[in-house]
């Protein structure tokens, strides 16, 4: 019976074996000290047990050397834990350059995955073995956390901000995905699976049931929301051109420079007055409430893919979108 009690988690990612090595080292060192203290306690308790009622043991002189020894040796071991841990931490935090991206949106109480090829999944994530995968994650409501024990990776998923997580699976199989930041009633049910497949199987899976890719969905949204009314290549365009801008630096009205990344693009869609590009007026309406987090990610995918000359044309005779706040006398109170 005891042989069937699971003791150690599976290793299914490149990171997992690295974490397990460090874990084993810490267990060994700490185990040694635990056993040492235990043995000393038991030995002293037995060897020096009270013999007569009025035993009067002689004092033992204190020793600075001893105190320093048993302070500095544990400290030295801890520094090894620290340095080794930092190395692992940085490798967990920094994805390699060649990654496969997946967008993850968490909400009470489900995980929504969006692959760049257009595949969508709920509570499941299909990935190929041997490929680095980077998740860009955001929450629609409260804080969640994306946890795959078999990969030894873990990252909180926050509202209002993207967080990222990367891994490279090493073994095909189905692995638990748990939400591990308490998020309400069905926190324990916000679970799923990461399904790691061999390359060819994965290709097969990719070709099934595909909606538009995020970029193509984003393009549809871009046109539906009439973004190119302002964001076009006319000389009198009211908004900056969005072609080929991702990862560039841009100067703002207040003189500051900002890097165009997912965070900046999201902010510009939802809170356009925040960082206005130099030479343009703050007249862009906010799309807060009109697009959800998934749609924001789709727009961002589209903008990332937008190359020179590819801005969709304006639909004809369409009025520019109203800035509802500028147009009205009095805005809404909260």
């Amino acid at each position: 019976m005891f042989a069937q009690i699971p003791l150690l988690p599976e290793q299914a990612s490149t990171h997992a074996s690295a974490v397990d090595s460090l874990l084993t080292f810490i267990v060994t060192v700490c185990g040694f000290f635990a056993v040492l203290i235990g043995v000393l306690l038991v030995t002293f308790a037995i060897r020096y047990r009270r013999r007569t009622a009025n035993d009067l043991p002689k004092p033992v002189a204190s020793s600075l050397k001893l105190e320093l020894t048993w302070s500095l040796i544990p400290l030295a071991f801890m520094m090894v834990f620290f340095v080794w841990g930092v190395q692992l931490y940085f490798s967990w935090a920094r994805p390699p350059d060649d990654v496969m991206e997946v967008h993850v949106v968490g909400r009470q109480w489900m995980w929504k995955m969006q692959h760049m090829g257009g595949q969508r999944e709920i509570n499941q994530l299909h990935v190929p073995v041997g490929r680095a995968v980077k998740l860009s994650m955001i929450s629609e409501d409260v804080i969640h956390s994306f946890f795959v024990p078999a990969f030894r990776v873990h990252m909180d998923v926050l509202p209002g901000r993207y967080t990222t997580l990367w891994f490279q699976a090493t073994k095909p199989g189905r692995y638990h995905l748990f939400c591990s930041q308490y998020c309400g009633t069905n926190h324990a049910k916000m679970i799923g699976e990461v399904i790691v497949m061999e390359r060819d199987e994965y290709q097969t899976w990719l070709s099934q049931g595909v909606d538009g890719s995020p970029a193509s969905e984003g393009r549809k949204l871009f046109m539906k929301l009439q973004c190119s009314t302002c964001h076009n290549s006319d000389s009198s365009a009211r908004g900056p051109l969005l072609e080929g801008i991702f990862q560039n630096n841009v100067t703002l009205e207040n003189g500051a420079t900002v890097r165009i990344d997912e965070t900046y693009l999201r902010e510009s869609i939802l809170y356009p007055d925040a960082k206005v590009v130099a030479g343009f007026k703050p007249i862009m309406p906010s799309y807060l409430g009109q697009v959800n987090e998934e749609e924001v990610l789709q727009l961002i995918s589209f903008i990332k893919s937008l190359q020179h000359g590819q801005t969709p044309p304006r639909t004809e005779n369409a009025d520019p979108p109203l800035n509802p706040v500028l147009e009205k006398k009095k805005g809404k109170s909260p």
Partner: protein
């Protein structure tokens, strides 16, 4: 009032008639509810804290029963979430933070200092009423539908999403915080200003050093969580606030502010416990404590360093990796003073004369379990491994080893050690040892499997879980039943000793320390004449102390 040189081992005159002590000097409910005697206030706290301990324990019973099966439906999700929240809130704010300071600290601190009372006796009584008020708010919240945010109240769930009584519980924790501040303030000022003649800092018992360090943490940390709970309440009521992302607010700011107190809070819990153990071990080894100054300064070091490590609760929160590095290295540093204490306690046994009465059994239990708990902290301070273990049962096991295997063991040890002094009665040594062993065994069976199941990946706060985690959960629940029996026994035999226990002498353990030089139970003014201290504490090697 005159002072007489009273060597701690001399015998003051014994009155011929039945002695008047703090318990029988006045009878009646009013004399208790309006008392300013620190000893009576300690007993009042003892009763309320025991009630809270059993309430918090009751809350976890349905949780552990629910966890017997992976897809159990004994409790629905909402009820389960409310039960573990109640367990956390009651145990943290109303049992373990006040625990040793309010009961043992209140009773012993003035006596160990040779004083007649704390610096502010009326504030002391006020602190008990404030504690009751906080308890009332929280219990109301629990009865009127409960709270399901977890004791950590993370935003935005607690401000925007939870439909439960967050504000009453927040108010309860806020109020309990003020009770804690009043206690800490009293202890700190008393230690500075009310030491008996000749009682210099390095002649103080180490329990006093521990309470002093604890008071520093209480004063500096508690107000921060108070104002954080206030900000949370305002945001929840008005639905606008500083933690709301829609206004540019940062949910991580809540976490920083919350943990800025709640991490040092665990040192508020552990330092008094270490102080208790440091009193027990020399007494039952008949030896001077090894490394007095190291233990004293390590308490201060823990208090200081404890304020610098809070971010280790946030390694995967989205905070910067560089910040993570800083918190990690500081978290290792704060472990060193605790290690120093463990080695010094062990060294005290060396060439001593060790006996195994109940207090000493609890002290041994503390040293063993606290060591394991502390060592498992290494996995969590290490960035690379914490990423995997964060928010799993590994963390739950870690802090229960320290809080229950550590603090509660020490509390029980201290309660048994000073019970004769506080009540004038001896309890049954046989049942004491049974309880200590049951608690030790039950504890290990409850929490050791949780390290394994956490490492396997079982997350915290799950009312249902993956099937492969079942065996560990069953072991844990089984252990919890034994632990429950173990805690229930002292309730019976300690209360029973009040009626049936043999009368205790002033110094049944033959311990050093000013509190043992006065009758059991002590008179209201503690010392008929103010003692004058001329020698260091723990002088076990010079002569066997006697009592009368």
């Amino acid at each position: 009032m005159s002072t007489v040189i009273a060597e701690p081992s001399s015998r003051p005159a014994e009155p011929a008639s039945k002695p008047v002590n703090y318990l029988n000097v006045q009878f009646g409910v009013r004399s208790w509810l309006l008392t300013t005697d620190h000893k009576r206030i300690a007993i009042l706290y003892l009763i309320s804290i025991t009630v809270m301990f059993f309430l918090g324990s009751l809350a976890i019973v349905p949780v552990r029963l629910q966890l017997l099966k992976p897809d159990n439906d004994l409790l629905d999700a909402d009820t389960y979430n409310k039960m573990f929240t109640m367990h956390g809130v009651v145990m943290v704010f109303f049992f373990i933070i006040p625990g040793i300071p309010a009961v043992l600290g209140n009773f012993l601190l003035p006596m160990m200092l040779g004083a007649k009372d704390l610096a502010f006796p009326k504030l002391n009584l006020l602190s008990w009423y404030v504690y009751l008020l906080g308890g009332a708010f929280s219990l109301y919240a629990m009865i009127a539908g409960g709270v399901d945010t977890g004791w950590t109240f993370y935003t935005p769930y607690s401000t925007r999403s939870s439909h439960t009584n967050v504000i009453p519980v927040g108010l309860g924790a806020f109020t309990a915080g003020f009770s804690s501040i009043l206690t800490g303030l009293n202890f700190l000022v008393t230690t500075h200003k009310m030491r008996a003649p000749g009682l210099t800092w390095f002649r103080l018992p180490l329990f006093v050093w521990a309470m002093y360090a604890t008071s520093i943490i209480i004063l500096l940390g508690t107000p921060v969580v108070a104002v954080t709970i206030l900000m949370l309440a305002i945001e929840r009521i008005f639905q606008v606030g500083v933690f709301d992302p829609a206004l540019g607010g940062d949910p991580l700011l809540f976490q920083h502010l919350f943990w800025f107190y709640s991490h040092p809070a665990v040192y508020i819990m552990i330092l008094p416990a270490m102080g208790v153990v440091t009193e027990i071990v020399p007494c039952f080894s008949r030896k001077n404590i090894y490394g007095y100054k190291f233990i004293a300064f390590s308490s201060l070091a823990i208090a200081l360093l404890g304020f610098l490590v809070w971010g280790h609760h946030m390694f995967v929160s989205g905070q910067s990796v560089y910040l993570g590095m800083i918190f990690s290295i500081l978290s290792f540093l704060v472990a060193v003073p605790s290690a120093i204490k463990v080695f010094n306690w062990t060294a005290t046994l060396y060439k001593g004369s060790v006996s195994f009465e109940t207090p000493m059994l609890f002290a041994f239990g503390f040293i063993g379990l606290f060591t394991i708990g502390g060592l498992t902290g290494m996995f969590l301070a290490t960035l690379g491994t914490d990423v995997h273990l964060h928010d799993t049962y590994f963390v739950i096991a870690h802090f229960h080893f320290i809080m229950v295997g550590g603090v509660v063991m020490a509390y029980m040890g201290g309660l048994h050690f000073w019970w004769p002094k506080m009540t004038g009665r001896m309890y049954s040594e046989f049942w004491g040892r049974i309880a200590a062993m049951l608690i030790f065994i039950g504890f290990i069976l409850t929490f050791l499997p949780q390290f394994v199941v956490g490492h396997l990946g079982m997350p915290r706060r799950y009312f249902q879980y993956a099937p492969e985690f079942q065996v560990h959960n069953v072991m844990s629940t089984a252990g919890a039943s034994i632990l429950g029996v173990g805690y229930f026994l002292p309730l019976i035999y300690l209360i029973g000793s009040l009626a049936y226990g043999p009368k205790a002498s002033s110094n049944p353990w033959k311990a050093t320390g000013l509190e043992w030089q006065t009758p059991s139970p002590p008179p209201t003014e503690n010392f008929p004449v103010t003692p004058v201290v001329t020698r260091e504490p723990y002088r076990y090697s010079e002569e066997v102390p006697v009592g009368y």
